[in-house]
């Protein structure tokens, strides 16, 4: 299994907020060594590999995760909580679950 994380790098050179949070969480869970590559979608370079992957897999927000299984199939995960559950069999915290729900349902707060 080959795992790529695509993070967004802003024009100021810093990762976007969600990319930073997710990579921090992967680190605190001790999972970073199992990530094979961290690829940048560099806001200052639309041709950067991260943007090419985003266009190829039609992903609209960072971070996202590409998991290549042994058979060669590549699965795209846009939801961090689902990625954690299915790839690492780890339960996300309720805060992560809620954050994911809100990211996937942008109108959920409008109540």
């Amino acid at each position: 299994m080959n795992i790529i994380v695509v993070q967004k790098i802003k024009r100021d050179g810093q990762p976007c907020a969600k990319s930073a949070k997710v990579l921090g969480d992967l680190n605190s869970r001790g999972l970073l060594p199992q990530i094979h590559r961290i690829v940048a979608a560099d806001e200052g370079d639309p041709d950067s590999e991260g943007y090419e992957l985003a266009a190829q897999f039609q992903v609209e927000a960072a971070p996202f995760f590409l998991v290549e299984r042994d058979g060669g199939d590549i699965q795209v995960y846009e939801a961090y909580a689902r990625f954690l559950k299915e790839v690492f069999q780890q339960e996300p915290s309720e805060a992560e679950e809620i954050a994911e729900m809100m990211a996937q349902n942008p109108d959920l707060d409008f109540i």
């Binding site: 967004k8 990319s19 639309p46 943007y51 809620i98 729900m101 707060d109 109540i111």
Partner: protein, 262 residues
Amino acid sequence: MIQLADPQAIAIDPASLAALEADLATKSPQKILRLVLKQFEAIAISFSGAEDVVLIDMAAKINKDVRVFTLDTGRLHGETYQFIDRVRKHYNLKLEMVFPDAALVEALVNAKGFYSFYQDGHKECCGIRKVRPLRRKLSTLDAWITGQRQDQNPSTRANVPVVQLDTAFSTEDHPLIKFNPLANWTSTQVWQYIRAYEVPYNPLHERGFVSIGCEPCTRAILPHQQEREGRWWWETAKEKECGLHAAINAAQDSPAAIAAQS
């Protein structure tokens, strides 16, 4: 499992819900409410303290014991608290107030203060004060009724159906149906109803507030602005910072991409 008064009446598979939507979309909100209040036992109206009060007015005429719940985030306007109490008395409701987990609010405020959303974005606070308690409440219901309308926000609510499987809050073990009886109504129709039936309304509406949420995160809007423009106005740019749209388009339009296509 969803408990229906008549289990044959409403099926929750996608095809059945689509057929139900096609049927209900042409019906008045009152007829929709009459049907769903009859069919579901564990069903409640979500009341935000704003113009969705029309749902309570309609439902109370059908079933005076209709269940209504409101999220008290702890940050509502004083006018909204007074209005909620007025609605409770006017309709003689046993209004169910839903509160956030005090320990989580305490931890957030102690760590970041009362106004962290102006720096860190509103979602952390909304997650604690709104979405978690809402999820807890909805886990006790089979269906809920909201005042969501298509004209509230063209970018996120243009396709709000009258009935849908609530994919945000459903779980594998507990499907949840969401009814939006006002989906096809306009704001004008809502206010025509409020005036015609002398429905009590939140006095903040008289001061230019259209959508009413928490006090620090809601402001009055100008004529012809969209309702969501009255919320979280300070973070438009921040919210988009993780988006990849612009550069995807740029990458697809780049000389290399065009050359590859030709």
